[in-house]
């Protein structure tokens, strides 16, 4: 078994830096999610660990071994690709056993482990089929089985669920998480879907423009985003931000005032106030706002209100009695407010 150490890794494509001095320690058996918008460098980082890209600077270690200059096949990793990359000219069982055949394992062992892998992923009825005869979800499972039977201590996954439809993705997400609990491989999982990241990761590294913006447990990142970017990326709906400054003991911005019992920061400093939809209550005598739209979502309703000139998402009970254009008052849960510097977007200490 092995952890992964990414030590000051940088990668440049032509003149564009794709990774800027990224450092990340992943513990043995940990499920690490690399999360970020497209072009943030998450897939590039994964490919550097896999050996499909050469790093331009820094080192990558798997366990105690420096693998920075090794070919993919010498790194003791297994990978699941976004397109699944299931070999179309081989049956499911040849696909799953391909890696073992390349490692020249004895035939009975290959057969046994292909069987085990197929059982683990519910592929036994399809072992003799070709990929063209499988559904997308089944192909995805073939790719996972093929990676798992390698018994590599490190499992790399590049958006393995992004090509599945929504319902199947929900199922596959739970399956992958259960699988990880069973096999305990050190896993790096790349995704742009923050729900996937939140639900699966032991820790999440939120990436932006080739650097890690924040690293932490899912709820830690959710509750205490290090920057405006992270708060705006994590959560559905994303965190609300109001721009303003402390004036006369309250937070005042363009067309609104948030009364505070315990004002934060220096008088007059430009700040961003971050608050999540579920920490805002409609009612009481707080911030004045106007309802823009009410979206009933089944379990609750998502109400978009205008605070000054800023649209703010509020999570309200499904039976909330407001409609568009109603004037409302909002009460913000003061213990849940997050403060950020307006210029840099970085969080200020609470």
């Amino acid at each position: 078994m092995a952890g992964i150490t990414i030590d000051g890794v940088s990668k440049i494509f032509g003149k564009t830096p794709a990774l800027k001095d990224v450092t990340l320690d992943i513990a043995d058996g940990e499920f690490m999610v690399l999360l970020g918008p497209s072009g943030c460098g998450k897939t590039t980082l994964l490919r550097c660990v896999a050996g499909l890209e050469q790093v331009n600077g820094g080192r990558i270690r798997i366990g105690e071994r420096d693998v920075s200059d090794l070919a993919p096949r010498d790194r003791n990793i297994a990978m699941v690709f976004q397109s699944y990359a299931v070999f179309p000219h081989m049956t499911v069982s040849s696909n799953i056993g391909f890696g073992l055949r390349m490692k020249r394992r004895p035939k009975p062992e290959i057969e046994k482990r292909v069987r085990e892998g197929a059982e683990l992923l519910g592929l036994v009825p399809f072992l003799d089929r070709y990929p063209a005869q499988l559904s997308g979800g089944q192909r995805q499972r073939v790719a996972v089985a093929r990676a798992l039977v390698m018994d590599a201590p490190v499992l790399l996954m590049d958006e393995p669920l992004s090509n599945l439809d929504a319902l199947l993705r929900l199922q596959a997400r739970a399956d992958l998480k259960r699988l990880h609990k069973e096999v305990k491989r050190t896993t790096i999982y790349v995704t742009h879907d923050q729900v996937e990241a939140m639900s699966m990761g032991d820790r999440i590294a939120v990436m932006r423009e080739g650097a890690i913006e924040q690293l932490g447990a899912p709820m830690e990142i959710y509750d205490n985003p290090a920057t405006q970017f992270v708060g705006g990326f994590i959560g559905s709906p994303p965190m609300n931000f109001l721009r303003g400054a402390i004036r006369d003991g309250a937070f005042a911005g363009d067309g609104f005032t948030v009364p505070l019992s315990r004002p934060h920061g220096a008088e007059g400093r430009e700040m961003l106030l971050g608050v999540r939809a579920e920490h805002i209550l409609i009612g009481g005598d707080g911030v004045a706002a106007k309802v823009l739209v009410v979206e009933p979502l089944g379990a609750h309703a998502l109400v978009t209100v205008l605070v000054g000139k800023t649209p703010v998402k509020v999570q309200a009970p499904i039976d909330v009695a407001v409609k568009a254009d109603d004037p409302v008052r909002l009460r913000l849960d003061e213990s849940r407010l997050r403060w950020m510097d307006a210029a840099s977007g970085s969080a200020l200490p609470n």
């Binding site: 050996g51 993919p72 096949r73 297994a78 990978m79 397109s83 990359a85 070999f87 890696g99």
Partner: protein, 268 residues
């Protein structure tokens, strides 16, 4: 809606016109080649042949020098395929996989070599081959044919390799293959139909090429060179039979591989 129907009709009318333009001479050659020799000069020509016979074809095949020249043609074509794929397929692979500086320009230059008329090259080529002692040698004809076929091979195989997903190759590498192993086990089997198409196309180019073959050989003639050399002295029946014999493989093969030829213009 109506404009679309009109567009389609015009397109099909054009296609049908072009097809007739090409096919009618083929058809006339074909029926003439199977008409008894005595009836070849009949006029007006019946569009449906009254009596079929293999006399004319037999006369052609049995004519002096035809069989050896067919064998020569086969040898030249096979060498051309081997040389052409050995040089062209790696270039096609590189075009498909690597983003290198001047890649687009290279593609254009490859195609531009086809604009250079072989006639201009013929005298220097003949002199060079004489000096090298390769004159009147099948290998030398194969080399020239290789040079002529290479642009097509590079572009067609490039299209073939692009169609094989790069992720498959990378997956094989993470599963224990070297780069080369991944190519052999994954890319090659998947590219094989396309490579076969490129090989067949190369065969057709070599089989039909007459100019270089005539310039560079005296006794070891390929079939087109042989037919050309005896053209002025041979009866009309011989010409029809020879024409059909040379054109037939080309038609059959082009029909089989037409989908891969589209890669030349489409996909990228």
């Amino acid at each position: 809606m109506n404009a679309r129907v009109l567009d389609r009709s015009l397109l099909y009318a054009g296609a049908i016109f072009l097809a007739i333009w090409v096919l009618v001479p083929f058809y006339l050659i074909a029926i003439s080649a199977f008409t008894p020799q005595a009836k070849i000069f009949d006029y007006p020509k019946p569009l449906v042949p009254g009596s079929l016979s293999t006399d004319t074809m037999q006369f052609f095949v049995e004519a002096r020098g035809v069989i050896p020249s067919v064998l020569n043609s086969l040898v030249v074509a096979l060498f051309t395929i081997v040389f052409g794929l050995a040089l062209g397929a790696p270039a096609g692979y590189a075009l498909a996989r690597f983003r290198f500086r001047g890649r687009e320009a290279f593609q254009v230059v490859v195609l531009m070599t086809k604009m250079f008329p072989i006639a201009i090259l013929s005298i220097p080529l003949a002199v060079t081959f004489l000096q090298l002692g390769l004159y009147d040698n099948l290998i030398s004809v194969a080399l020239v044919h290789t040079a002529m076929a290479l642009p097509f091979i590079v572009l067609v195989t490039g299209g073939v390799f692009v169609a094989v997903s790069h992720e498959l190759e990378e997956a094989a590498q993470t599963l224990g293959c070297s780069r080369w192993g991944a190519f052999l086990r994954i890319v090659l089997p998947l590219a094989l139909p396309g490579l076969a198409a490129a090989a067949i196309f190369t065969f057709v180019i070599s089989w039909n090429e007459v100019f270089a073959a005539t310039i560079l050989t005296l006794r070891t003639r390929t079939l087109p060179a042989q037919v050309l050399a005896s053209l002025s002295t041979s009866p009309l029946a011989f010409k029809f039979a020879g024409g059909l014999f040379m054109v037939l493989p080309a038609i059959v093969f082009i029909f089989l591989i037409r989908k891969y030829l589209m890669n030349l213009w489409g996909s990228r």
